[in-house]
């Protein structure tokens, strides 16, 4: 009890309501540094809402989000990022008139080790640019570096968004359906990027792509209708029949279990 470090990310009793719709209901989750965690579930289960609550773009009605033992529930997305929460977007975002490279420079800036005064120091800007180039190489967009981001195709924008998320070198990385809309080789590139992630980073992956989840995740949370159906080791959890049912969504909305399991 005394020496164990606090979890990298801890969610306690998160609840979020949109009007009459209960999008998330009493969701808890605890991840250690280096976790490889997937959140799966049918559409409308509350996966994106969960990510938004963790990233700070949305605030919970109840419950807390803690990063390394520190309560960040009241912090803005920018404040959380500076503490180490990075994310990718389901609908990727970039500054269309800046180049791909400049977009990554901007994304890496607030957490770059040489950020102080970088806006007026060309030398520090060069350092930032060099780091950004490495991230573009990592995601396979190096040959697009000088192109305005607005000219990228949809799948490439997703890779750029991934590079932007990585550039902040987060300690907790949230990935919102990074494989959606990618071609087969894009998915392969994505998996190799995921495999090469820093071992200390805790990763939360929301994804439908079964192979990506199965290959990447060590632990899995299954959400259904805003509630945690089960959390557990990936292989066993994915094999459980009720998870398969819920994941494949055999009914319109799988009824949440009356008593919490797992």
């Amino acid at each position: 009890m005394t020496s164990s470090p606090p979890p990298a990310l801890e969610l306690t009793a998160l609840t979020r309501r949109f009007g009459r719709l209960l999008a998330l209901d009493d969701v808890g989750l605890s991840l250690a540094a280096g976790a490889r965690h997937a959140v799966i579930g049918p559409n409308g289960a509350g996966k994106s809402t969960l990510l938004n609550l963790v990233a700070g773009t949305d605030r919970p009605d109840h419950g807390t989000v803690a990063l390394d033992g520190r309560d960040v529930t009241r912090l803005s997305p920018a404040g959380r990022c500076r503490l180490g929460i990075g994310r990718s977007f389901q609908q990727p975002l970039a500054v269309p008139e800046l180049t791909v490279l400049e977009n990554v420079v901007l994304a890496g800036w607030p957490r770059h080790p040489r950020r102080r005064g970088a806006w007026r120091s060309p030398a520090k800007q060069r350092l930032h640019t060099a780091s950004a180039r490495r991230w573009l190489e990592t995601v396979g967009l190096a040959d697009r570096a000088e192109l305005p981001a607005g000219r990228l195709a949809h799948g490439e924008r997703r890779l750029l968004d991934l590079a932007a998320a990585l550039a902040a070198e987060p300690s907790v990385l949230l990935l919102d359906e990074p494989a959606a809309g990618l071609t087969d080789d894009g998915v392969e590139r994505l998996t190799s990027v995921l495999d090469a992630l820093d071992e200390r980073t805790a990763v939360v992956l929301v994804e439908h792509h079964v192979e990506v989840v199965a290959r990447f995740a060590r632990t899995v949370t299954v959400l259904a209708a805003g509630r945690v159906l089960v959390t557990g080791p990936a292989r066993e959890t994915l094999a459980r029949p009720e998870v398969r049912d819920a994941y494949r969504g055999t009914g319109p909305v799988p009824a949440p279990p009356s008593a919490p399991r797992g």
């Binding site: 990075g86 269309p96 890496g108 902040a168």
Partner: protein
């Protein structure tokens, strides 16, 4: 009960007044929220109705009905005309359309004065309504009670159509995603036309029926537009009930407030506004974003644009025979200024890959160009007084002051993505600070400029938090309200500002400590030029530093920036404060150049001119904005001098022409129409793509 009793009549009046504002504001928010048109000609539509009501009203029911039919039909037709004029601009964003409607409002206001004269015509209501009824022991005009009933019925009908019918659903869908609506089989063109026609008819009808409450006159358009904008900002666009409440509140302030506390009433509106803006700045967000993805569909105006490429030069030559040789030099000065826009442009993204890529070729040459070209332009401008007459030199000084205001608008609109109509507020703060300082004997130029900038900074720090929390066209409305209320305060705070009479007779500014006061136009001009050059140089340096890219990020991908840890709100506040300082310096220069100051110098027209100047300049080009300001001052004071009394008409035409022919401003003329997609912006910087939108592969 005594208090209530004494104020019952003004209180009921306030309800009638408020309902009138509600009907007008409903049309305004309908056009804005669903057709995306911030219709600055909406007050003019009301005025059309009011004039029609006055002209047809002869004290009979027939006259009222005839007036109602005529006023509604004419204003509806004018609304339809607006739709035809504005629709081709729809994909260029809200700002282009707002400027177009303002230009048309200037033209329409001029025409109304031509037709109906500059007086306020009397309004007669049918005899049966021209009596009074007894209300809780008070006599009250029957007409106003009848009006209250009519307005309630109209409001109920309108909200039923919007919320319950298929047409209403189509209207709301058009606000969300017009191109997707088209793909669903509904013509967005028809929706646009229908909405603007209905809004026009609503304003016209309100004008006819409301003429006995807010009568026709030369000031009617602006008065009604401002009050209904205040209602829309207070009430937000989401709920008609909130708008109704806001309208009645404003009505009560304008009637009951004046009756109870005549001294405080003007500030009550300001205070209500401030509270609403600070408490719920997001309430006025339009319900949905427009699809910003640009389409290359051949524009009917494309060929005009291509032709317009050579236009400024042709115009120069065409003018020469008309004006004197000296005046032609004035045009030439503008023309020579245009190439200088290159440093401005290089700062805005076009050359960024070059710099960050570290492959800038021939740095010596590039540096020489960067320093030499502005230096040459500065030198040429410095020599202007030698070849121009005194009047033109003082015009050039005014142009510089307006130019700085336009630069501050460019900074906010083009770089920070906050389109503003309210930079006249810090401009006014700077101007009045300078005038008051001069009156108190502080005449040293540097002191005036620095204190004016500081005062503007303080003002912006106070108003900034409300402004930078809003986005897109909402900013336009909020800043419009801020600017308008600032100029209202300038008009009322007689002890400091001299009220409507303005300030005059303060000692002239001294360029430096120990020098004599500047009275010669050429000295004043040189002083203004040096101050402007310094301010512009600092602005360009900051914009060209990586800080400029931070603003680009805040404008282009705000959620990404926030998620990457950038305090976007702080960046925008810094930009707003910086732009305020620029505007404050511009205000200080105005006072030095003009040697007098009145509320009209900081009014809505000046705000619209500054925005137009920024747009003519291409919204991101600092030097382009200066050129735009020069063009506007020339049109207003020099060309209009040849046709007295029609300055507004000419400016209105300038607005319309500029919006149509210069979609990317002067800077766009130097760039190909195609590469602009990568480095430049249309009139309004493309709003951050709504989550539903993607650039097609």
């Amino acid at each position: 009960m005594g208090l209530l009793d004494a104020h019952l009549v003004p209180a009921v009046d306030g309800v009638a007044y408020g309902l009138l504002l509600f009907v007008v504001a409903a049309g305004l928010s309908l056009a804005f929220g669903t057709a995306g048109v911030l219709n600055l000609a909406h007050g003019t539509l009301y005025a059309i109705g009011a004039y029609a009501g006055a002209a047809c009203g002869d004290g009979t029911w027939g006259g009222l009905v005839l007036g109602l039919a005529a006023g509604t039909a004419v204003a509806g037709a004018a609304g339809a005309g607006l739709s035809f004029a504005a629709f081709p601009l729809a994909r260029r964003g809200h700002l282009a359309q707002a400027l177009l409607t303002f230009g048309l409002a200037l033209v329409g206001g001029d025409l109304l004065v031509q037709v109906f004269g500059a007086d306020e015509p009397p309004v007669r209501v049918p005899g049966a309504l021209d009596t009074s009824v007894t209300l809780l022991g008070h006599r009250y005009p029957a007409y106003r009670l009848g009006f209250i009933v009519m307005a309630v019925l109209l409001a109920a009908f309108g909200s039923w159509v919007l919320a319950r019918t298929r047409a209403g659903a189509a209207v709301r869908a058009a606000a969300d995603d017009p191109r997707m609506l088209a793909a669903t089989g509904v013509s967005p063109r028809a929706v646009h036309l229908g909405v603007l026609t209905a809004a026009g008819a609503l304003a016209g009808g309100a004008g006819v029926l409301g003429a006995p409450i807010i009568g026709p006159g030369p000031g009617t358009s602006e008065n009604v537009l401002m009050l209904s904008l205040v209602v829309v900002v207070l009430g937000g666009l989401r709920s008609p009930w909130a708008t109704l409440l806001a309208a009645v509140a404003v009505g009560e302030v304008q009637t009951l407030g004046v009756a109870v506390a005549p001294d405080l009433a003007p500030y009550l509106l300001f205070a209500a506004m401030a509270v609403a803006l600070i408490a719920r700045p997001r309430a006025t967000e339009p319900p949905g974003g427009h699809d910003p993805s640009p389409t290359p569909a051949p524009d009917p105006l494309t060929w005009l644009r291509t032709r317009a490429k050579t236009l400024p030069w042709r115009r120069t030559r065409a003018k020469t025979p008309l004006g004197t040789g000296e005046n032609a030099k004035g045009w030439d000065g503008v023309g020579r200024g245009t190439p200088a826009s290159s440093p401005g442009r290089t700062g805005t993204g076009a050359s960024l890959p070059e710099r960050t890529g570290g492959k800038a070729s021939l740095p010596g040459v590039a540096l020489a160009r960067r320093v030499a070209v502005p230096a040459l332009v500065f030198g040429a401008l410095l020599l202007l007084p030698g070849v121009l007459d005194a009047y033109t030199v003082s015009l050039a000084g005014s142009a510089l002051a307006l130019g700085l205001l336009a630069v501050s608008v460019t900074l906010l609109t083009g770089h920070a993505g906050l389109p503003t109509l309210g930079q006249t507020a810090p401009f006014a703060v700077g101007a009045y600070t300078t005038a008051v300082l001069a009156g108190a004997g502080w005449t040293a130029g540097p002191v005036q400029v620095v204190l004016a900038a500081l005062a503007a900074v303080v003002f912006c720090l106070v108003t900034g938090p409300a402004v930078v929390r809003a986005r897109s066209t909402t900013v336009l409305m909020i800043t419009l309200a801020v600017g308008e209320l600032a100029s209202a305060v300038a008009g009322r705070l007689t002890s400091v500002t001299g009220g409507a009479d303005g300030l005059v007779g303060f000692p002239p500014t001294r360029a430096l400590w120990g020098t004599a006061g500047m009275v010669e136009e050429r000295d004043v001009y040189t002083y203004a030029l040096v101050v402007t050059a310094l301010a512009v140089a600092v602005t360009l340096l900051v914009l060209r530093s990586p800080a400029g890219r931070l603003l680009a990020g805040a404008r282009g991908a705000e959620a990404r920036m926030r998620a990457s840890g950038h305090p976007v709100g702080r960046y925008l506040l810094v930009a707003y404060v910086g732009a305020g300082a620029l505007a404050g310096i511009g205000g200080s220069l105005t006072v030095t150049v003009q040697q007098y100051l009145s509320p009209a110098d900081v009014g809505f027209e000046i705000a619209a001119f500054a925005l137009l100047a920024a747009v003519i300049g291409g919204t991101t080009s600092v030097v382009g904005a200066l050129c735009g300001a020069a063009l506007i001052v020339l049109t207003r004071d020099w060309v209009a001098g040849a046709w007295p009394g029609h300055g507004p008409l000419l400016l209105g035409v300038l607005f319309v022409v500029a919006v149509y022919l210069l979609p990317r401003g002067l800077a766009g003329l130097r760039r190909g129409p195609n590469d602009a997609a990568a480095g430049g912006h249309a009139l309004l910087p493309a709003p951050a793509a709504p989550p539903n939108d993607k650039v097609p592969t």
